[in-house]
């Protein structure tokens, strides 16, 4: 057993798919009047397209692709600020690879690198800290990006830098949290959602209790899901069963990885290092209250915003999206990716115009890569 292959078993999938078809029928959902389930996490969006799950499930079930791709929701102004820091003399900017091609207003990080800025891809923030140790004469900045899955690794790296007195290391913090945008989506009167597939790896850190409000206050089911095809199918079935039975509960399909209370060490490290920002801008969704994290004053020495005077709200705000880019409409479920006039022509994974085409977790890139355009057109 390796805890992955077992959850890709096609024979077991057949049974779950049949149950999904049966329950969708029992709900009375049809192609014309489908049941809408949002997978919040970009990892789930990717898995749905990679395994073609949207083609295997009945037409009465429609997936709405949520805002859970951190690269995709990053506003252009933050890329601009990151480029600005990276272009300062003496700086080594470090970043996860998927942020390199996100378009900024002036340029992306990869364009800045081509223009001479010292920008390096790292696998872990610990690698950025190691780089700082090796280059004591340089300022090493880590482009901290991601949801609760990734926030603890950055927090623990800052705590390590503080313990080591490594002061030529800092973090440009763009970490964001999942529950506030879900609340914003639920408060949007145009949004028609019947239930959620909850993010598995975010939940292994924060646990399942932060989703209680979805069931309690909004009466919607949510099932925290793993990332193998069987995990996703089983979770969808659990959501559908709740809808059929008129229940709204927080359930945990991914219990082999997600403890109900999350990971206490991670939660404590994040509480120590971060404070919520009053609000943070999400590409396509706008400003959302208390959805972003900043570094607490106690760790200001490792906060790139403080060190370089490039702060949230200090630069010009609301940089317009590129002409014709409809990432915002895709992200809120108003249109499918291929309904954007730029899809596949002015915007491709090689030359992305909008952020959803950049990351493999973005809905547009998934559609492009796995042929959503061709298949949907054929149906």
């Amino acid at each position: 057993m390796n805890y992955a292959d077992e959850f890709r078993d096609p024979v077991a999938a057949r049974g779950v798919l049949a149950a999904i078809a049966r329950v969708t029928d029992e709900i009375g959902a049809t192609r014309e009047k489908p049941v809408h389930i949002m997978e919040i996490c970009g990892g789930h969006t990717h898995a749905i397209f990679r395994y073609g799950l949207d083609k295997l499930t009945p037409p009465g079930l429609e997936f709405i692709h949520g805002p859970g791709c951190p690269v995709c929701v990053l506003p252009m102004s933050r890329i601009d600020e990151c480029v600005e820091i990276a272009e300062r003399p003496g700086v080594i900017m470090t970043t996860f690879g998927d942020a390199m091609r996100v378009p900024g207003h002036r340029k992306s990080l990869i364009q800045a690198k081509a223009d001479g800025a010292d920008i390096r891809m790292v696998y872990s923030p610990l690698d950025a800290l190691e780089l700082a140790r090796r280059h004591p004469d340089r300022e090493v900045v880590f482009f901290g990006l991601g949801f609760e899955t990734t926030t603890p690794s950055t927090a623990l790296t800052i705590l390590q830098a503080a313990a080591d007195g490594q002061t030529n290391f800092s973090v440009f913090c763009n970490h964001i949290t999942v529950p506030p945008p879900i609340k914003a989506l639920l408060d949007d009167p145009h949004m028609i959602l019947d239930g959620f597939v909850g993010p598995g790896h975010v939940s292994m850190v924060i646990g399942v209790r932060p989703y209680d409000f979805i069931a309690r206050d909004y009466g919607k089911p949510i099932v925290v899901a793993g990332f193998e095809p069987l995990d996703l199918l089983q979770s969808v079935l659990m959501v559908l069963e709740q809808i059929r039975d008129g229940r709204a509960e927080v359930e945990n399909q991914y219990s082999r990885v997600v403890p109900d209370d999350g990971n206490p060490v991670s939660i404590a490290a994040c509480a120590e290092v971060y404070a919520p920002r009053p609000s943070f801008e999400w590409r396509g969704l706008g400003e959302i209250d208390a959805s972003g994290l900043c570094i607490r004053p106690a760790y200001a020495a490792w906060d790139a915003e403080v060190k370089f005077g490039v702060g949230y709200g200090k630069g010009p705000r609301a940089v317009a999206e590129p002409d014709g880019c409809r990432c915002g409409d895709v992200m809120t479920g108003r249109i499918k990716p291929h309904a954007c006039p730029q899809f596949g022509t002015g915007c491709t994974p090689e030359m992305p115009l909008g952020a959803l085409m950049v990351s493999s977790e973005g809905a547009c890139a998934a559609y492009y890569q796995y042929g959503g355009l061709r298949l949907e057109a054929a149906l």
Partner: protein
């Protein structure tokens, strides 16, 4: 096979020596072990999935039987 890499295990180490982790599975993300795989829970989930498959096989057998009787 695979990749060798140093990871930080602070998040998954309970009140125990580090050797206690040998032989366990963990989910690794950006250089950090984030969660230990709970083998009992994994087995329970697989059981449910298996039962769904068996139930489906039974339903199909029933349907086939009905079709046979109706013809």
């Amino acid at each position: 096979m695979g990749v060798r890499r140093q990871v930080n295990v602070a998040c998954i180490l309970k009140d125990e020596p580090i050797e206690a982790l040998i032989g366990t599975w963990s989910l690794i993300h950006v250089g950090f072990a984030m969660s230990r795989i709970n083998e009992e829970e994994a087995a329970l989930t697989l059981d449910i999935l298996r039962q769904l498959g068996e139930a489906q096989a039974e339903i199909e057998a029933m349907r086939a039987s009905e079709r046979m009787l109706a013809s």
